[in-house]
């Protein structure tokens, strides 16, 4: 049996295009035998490059490391214990989830609507498909600062316009009642085009025949949308939601540029807490604890969504 194996190897070795380098096959030259390792090398390096800082962050979260005192010691789960007994943490958890879910929900509904509207071959749709992505091309922090200026009650245009309906004193992100709405609005402005773009690509990759059959059979627009478009678009929709949800759970720039987490503690989500503790207050281990917990939440949510995505793909393929 062994001899057969060697014979097959030798046979494969001389056939161009079917050659399989085998590190265990001592008859192959060394340069050939190391080839599999060289091929997975970059992937391995990349994995180490990602895992090393992550592992280090987990480790630091188990210490009392502060930037001003590098002589740290291992404290076990003390940071986690302190965090979980701090009411600020639960407030931040609420802000993080409320921001992420509301921004993603609005963006998905709007993005779907825009994608359906632009999925027509009219001259206006062609122009709008290009113009639509402009907000995505601006750095989020710049986009936020533009909005901040527009929302400024004393000089901003929005309050001037709201003045016509008697709302010139609307305080946007400055007031606790409207702060979340204001930052979500900016997020929606920036990222709705992203979802539209993704869904538009999905819509344009769909086969035309089922839609033509439905039209011939006299199916209504709603019937076609519900039974054909939506199931076939579902994998794209879920991918878009995964991207946006992960991103908005980690949102820093929009909130930081708009209010720095204020007013009071109103907009202090996890990334802002991590920044305040880790950088401004130099308590790196405590700041990282926030980030590790955020990572766990992101991981959990994305895993659930990936399962849904797999199922949606199967449904779309009619399996």
């Amino acid at each position: 049996m062994a001899s057969t194996h060697h014979n097959v190897s030798a046979e494969l070795a001389i056939q161009p295009g079917r050659f399989v380098p085998d590190p265990r096959d001592l008859r192959q030259p060394l340069s050939v035998r190391v080839r599999p390792y060289l091929i997975i090398g970059p992937a391995l390096l990349l994995t180490v490059g990602i895992l090393y800082p992550f592992g280090l962050a987990v480790y630091y979260s188990l210490t009392n490391y502060t930037l001003s005192n590098p002589n740290y010691s291992f404290v076990g789960f003390l940071n986690y214990k302190m965090l979980l007994t701090d009411p600020e943490f639960y407030h931040s958890a609420k802000v993080t989830l409320a921001y992420a879910f509301s921004a993603t929900a609005v963006e998905t509904i709007l993005g779907l609507g825009v994608a359906l509207l632009l999925n027509r071959e009219t001259p206006l749709a062609r122009v709008l498909r290009t113009v639509m992505i402009f907000p995505l091309m601006i750095a989020p922090v710049i986009g936020t600062l533009i909005w901040k200026l527009m929302m400024q009650p004393s000089v901003g245009i929005l309050n001037y316009l709201l003045g016509f309906i008697g709302l010139s004193h609307f305080e946007w992100a400055a007031a606790p009642q409207t702060a979340l709405f204001s930052v979500v609005l900016v997020d929606v402005w920036i990222y709705t085009p992203f979802i539209s773009l993704l869904l538009l690509a999905g819509l344009q990759s769909m086969p035309k025949e089922p839609f033509e059959s439905a039209r011939v059979d006299g199916g209504s627009a709603w019937f076609t949308f519900k039974n054909l478009t939506l199931p076939m678009l579902a994998p794209f929709l879920i991918i878009a939601v995964i991207f946006r949800l992960i991103d908005s759970l980690k949102m820093f720039d929009v909130i930081y540029a708009m209010t720095g987490g204020g007013p009071g503690q109103t907009l202090m989500n996890f990334p802002l807490q991590a920044y305040y503790y880790g950088i401004l207050y130099m308590n790196l281990s405590y700041g990282l604890t926030y980030m590790i917990i955020l990572w766990a939440i992101v991981y959990l949510i994305s895993q659930i969504l990936v399962v849904y995505w797999g199922k949606a793909q199967q449904r779309a393929a009619g399996l």
Partner: protein
């Protein structure tokens, strides 16, 4: 006759001594070797500020004088100190000299990131004899001196940074409006509140009575608020480092301040930084501004804003006991302890904080509050500043009572950021006493956890 001869001899001897003294100083000054570090390169970490522009505008003079090459990076203020913190904590020593404030010294000096500077100042081979350290106002020099013990006052221990350009907090107001409505400059906090209310939306103009900073940031606390807070007789910490922002005086003052801002301040106050406060005032959207005196100056420069030429300065309201103490911000230059070019770095620092450069920066550029007494006595500078209504007089009135009014401790940024967040809570309706009690409990817990305060 004999008597006259004796007098002549004495006069001659004195004259000789004077000439000799001048010659000695002159020769010492000439002897100072500015080229000692010629060919060296140093790197600066700078914040974007008009004072920085004054420095960069004259940088060639330093390079020509010393042969030292200077490279620099400039960051906007919002992120500047993050960059300094990260660079210093990394221990890379990639920058030799950086701009700092006194509050940052409390964070950067204890871990050993800053180089003590008095050995350089006191070394005649390293510091040119014309430097005149004593010419820098003593309260400014003290602001950058600390013995690293949390709670201990400034003014002892090492000199961690050199004062370079500062900002004294003052009340700025629209002279034209005050004249038009016959309003006197307020002399107490209740009077300031009443004046702000009177001017707020006066004649339906939509103008705010007063504008002050309000964002969730330490910088909200230190200008007008801290000046009035301390003048009111309130403190941030007691001698045992217990937070006392909920003392009766503190509560009274805080309540009044927030009431003033709520009833006569700008809308969206909780997002107001130095930039919004200054631009609102310059755009004629507010009748008064309580902030760094230089903020009004830049709005008052001809052509700079809608209100240029209409701005006046006053020291600000006095406390209930008739006393005004002014908090200040002091831009200083510091040396990284990890600098590989300490000699050249010090040469740069002494030049940048020396008389010659600072006089030029004050007279020809926009170094509005120079740290040297001699410059405030310079006729050209006096003439320049007197073009601004009562700017010079205000400065002279407050300089002697101008100091850092916070208790030095490494958790300054945590304390003041939380303090600003508490002002927001009060602004949006929470009872001042309850909100400040919560703040005190939080700060005390944080100080205990950090091992600074005994439980």
């Amino acid at each position: 006759m004999r008597k006259r001869r004796v007098v002549s001899w004495i006069v001659l001897a004195l004259a000789l001594m004077l000439v000799l003294a001048c010659l000695t100083t002159a020769s010492a000054a000439e002897k100072f070797n500015w080229k000692k570090y010629s060919g060296t390169k140093i790197r600066l970490l700078l914040n974007k500020h008009p004072y920085t522009e004054a420095l960069l505008g004259n940088l060639k003079t330093f390079e020509n004088l010393t042969g030292i090459k200077v490279e620099y990076d400039i960051f906007p203020e919002q992120n500047y100190f993050d960059k300094v913190t990260i660079d210093l904590s990394s221990g890379s020593g990639s920058y030799d000299v950086f701009m700092t404030g006194a509050y940052q010294v409390w964070q950067y000096a204890p871990p050993g990131w800053m180089e003590p500077l008095e050995p350089y100042i006191n070394d005649p081979s390293m510091t040119n004899p014309d430097y005149d350290w004593e010419d820098i106002y003593p309260n400014l020099r003290k602001s950058d001196q600390w013995n690293l013990k949390p709670g201990n006052p400034l003014g002892s221990g090492h000199q961690w940074a050199i004062p370079w350009g500062f900002e004294a907090n003052a009340l700025m107001y629209r002279v034209d409006m005050f004249k038009k409505y016959g309003i006197a400059v307020p002399e107490s906090l209740p009077a300031l509140y009443a004046t702000a209310k009177k001017l707020n939306n006066i004649d339906g103009s939509g103008i705010a009575g007063i504008v002050v900073r309000g964002s969730k940031n330490w910088a909200t606390i230190h200008p007008g608020f801290m000046t009035q807070y301390a003048s009111y007789g309130a403190r941030d910490f007691d001698d045992k480092l217990n937070a006392v922002m909920n003392s009766p005086k503190a509560v009274e003052m805080t309540d009044l301040w927030v009431k003033m801002v709520r009833e006569a301040g700008p809308k969206a106050w909780t997002t107001y930084t130095w930039y919004q406060a200054g631009s609102d005032f310059g755009a004629g959207k507010a009748a008064m501004l309580f902030d760094a005196d230089i903020l009004g100056y830049f709005q008052n420069v001809p052509g700079a804003s809608a209100c240029s030429g209409k701005i006046g300065w006053a020291p600000g309201p006095k406390g209930p006991e008739g006393k005004l103490v002014t908090n200040m911000w002091i831009w200083s230059l510091a040396m990284s302890a990890k600098s590989k070019n300490k000699g050249a770095a010090w040469y740069f620092m002494q030049w940048a904080t020396g008389k010659e450069h600072l006089t030029k920066a004050a007279v020809d550029f926009a170094m509005v509050d120079p740290v040297r007494k001699s410059i405030w006595e310079n006729p050209k500078f006096i003439a320049k500043m007197k073009e601004n209504y009562h700017f010079y007089e205000t400065f002279q009135a407050i300089i002697d009572n101008c100091s850092i009014l916070f208790t030095p401790q490494p958790k300054f940024f945590e304390t003041t950021t939380e303090w600003a967040a508490t002002l927001h809570d009060i602004y949006y309706g929470e009872d001042a006493k309850k909100a400040l009690d919560k703040l005190v409990a939080k700060i005390n817990r944080m100080m205990t956890q950090a091992g600074i305060r005994k439980p």
